[in-house]
């Protein structure tokens, strides 16, 4: 189990970005982390993978543990070796490297070449298109293929936990559907523990087992995904749903907004 216990993250020594975030991602489950822009979702992921230092950020309080091992004092490469892989936001492939080389870089922490080959075949079984494109420069892949490549690249480290950062961002609906089906398979077949950051709450709640909603550096809501799907505030603010057919005056919306100011 990946657990985050009441962490604070400070940037530049002064800017408090996470103000006591606590969450748990259970083994073999998908845990969704929802919230608007700037709520601190990506920062939470970077705190887990140890990448805050590169942006002059630091975890100043609390702890991050994977099955009892403290991650928050470890270097990024040790965290990857310890079984946590991150799928970065915005499909950050290594442009000039081929698909195969990108995947090999993903296996950087591993040494057993036969098992690396086996992982690559596994990636190709999830994403057959990557096998066809294995010799091509990653920069010339389509957006969907690049997203598949970064997911495959994360799988190459043989991770226990996979952190997904906005896998649906900027992709066509059909491709998003495909990607999310794969994320589901990674949980069901691959037995990976998944922490999924998404802005598209409907998508995330449809696939997740448990979900957290973040707002301005705090967890505002949490619960089983099935429950949150029915939560009226979630339906209103994140799913854009309301009671079917009911017409509402602008004043109602406004009052609702005011009531939810703590949410925004």
């Amino acid at each position: 189990m990946l657990s985050i216990n009441n962490i604070e993250v400070v940037f530049d020594g002064t800017i408090l970005v996470l103000k006591g975030v606590t969450l748990a991602a259970h083994e073999g489950k998908i845990t969704a982390l929802l919230g608007a822009n700037g709520a601190g979702k990506t920062t939470t992921l970077k705190a887990i993978s140890g990448l805050l230092a590169a942006e002059r950020g630091a975890v100043t309080a609390g702890s991050i543990e994977l099955d009892g091992t403290r991650l928050d004092r470890m270097a990024p490469h040790d965290i990857v070796a310890g079984g946590v892989a991150q799928v970065f936001e915005g499909r950050r492939v290594f442009d000039g490297l081929s698909v195969e080389e990108n995947l090999l870089v993903g296996a950087h922490t591993r040494t057993n070449l036969t098992r690396i080959r086996a992982s690559m075949e596994e990636v190709f079984s999830y994403f057959p298109i990557l096998k066809e494109r294995r010799g091509q420069a990653a920069g010339y892949l389509s957006g969907g293929e690049q997203q598949m490549l970064v997911i495959g690249r994360a799988l190459m480290s043989d991770p226990q936990v996979i952190l997904f950062d906005e896998p649906s961002l900027g992709l066509a609906p059909l491709i998003v559907e495909n990607i999310f089906r794969i994320i589901g398979r990674l949980r069901d077949e691959g037995k990976h523990t998944i922490l999924l950051v998404e802005q598209n709450a409907a998508l995330a709640l449809a696939i997740a087992d448990h979900a957290y909603v973040m707002e301005t550096g705090r967890i505002a809501l949490e619960g089983p995904a099935a429950e949150l799907r029915q939560n009226p505030e979630i339906r209103e603010s994140y799913l854009g749903l309301n009671d079917a057919g009911a017409r509402r005056s602008y004043r109602d919306v406004k009052r609702n907004r005011r009531r939810q100011r703590w949410l925004a």
Binding site: R92, G96, V105, G143
Partner: protein, 298 residues
Amino acid sequence: MSEFDLQFTLLLVTSGLMIGMMYALIALGFVLVYKATDAINFAQGEFVMLAGLMAAVSIDTSLPFIVAVLIAIAGMIAFCFGLERVVLRQLLGRPIIAVVMATIGLAALIRGASTLSFGPGVRALPLPVSDDPLFLGPIMLPPVQMVGAGVSLVFLLGFTWFFLKTRMGVAMQAVASNQTVAMGMGINVQRYFALAWALTGIVSALGGVIWGAMLGVDNQLPLVGLKVFPVVILGGLDSVIGAVVGGLIIGVVEALAAGYFDPLVGGGTKDFVPYLLMIIVLMVRPYGLFGKRKIQRI
């Protein structure tokens, strides 16, 4: 064109290619560091001089040549490691001008300190080969240049192979492409920075021995390093292949300028023609012949 003219041109071109290969070797040191760490090393020429000095002083104390070369290589690796750890690591994430200024300061420091410690005189750094030129048909080949070009070629091929074919080389390319993502893949980025500097140390050591053998070791030797700039601008700052092609082009252009223009104007064209070429290339292809134009999908 008469028989003599043809031979003269051929001679200039072969000589230029050999010199160019040696430029390429030094340029490689510059490119390695720029690619991996984004640092522009203005002290590359001084590295070369420092290495030449290490080798020349070792030979003066009557150590065998091969030992002197090994000392230069080991010394330069240690020097570059130290430099990376003590100075450049502190400048990570600072504006690029900070690193540039640091290396310019370092260059002056190395020049001054070596003159202070070892005197301003020229030291010979004789390669253990004969001085008699070899003749390949009509072309005359000085053995020192041939050895220099040969060693450069071997190492350029070796580094190219390392970069493209080994896991470490590919990881280094990943670091060059995107540091944060490389970190996220479990690559120890600091270690790869150190590796890049160590490789630069090796390249500088070899360059120092070769150029020291050709020109003698004194505080004018760093001027060779200045030629790195037209070479890498021509080839592209971040391209290993570009460093080779850029080196060859600059070598040939320089030789042709020396052969054809110098007699007309009384000399000196060889020293500025490469920079003229550099300015033209900057205007036409700012990223160099082989430099990274970002792959961009529209």
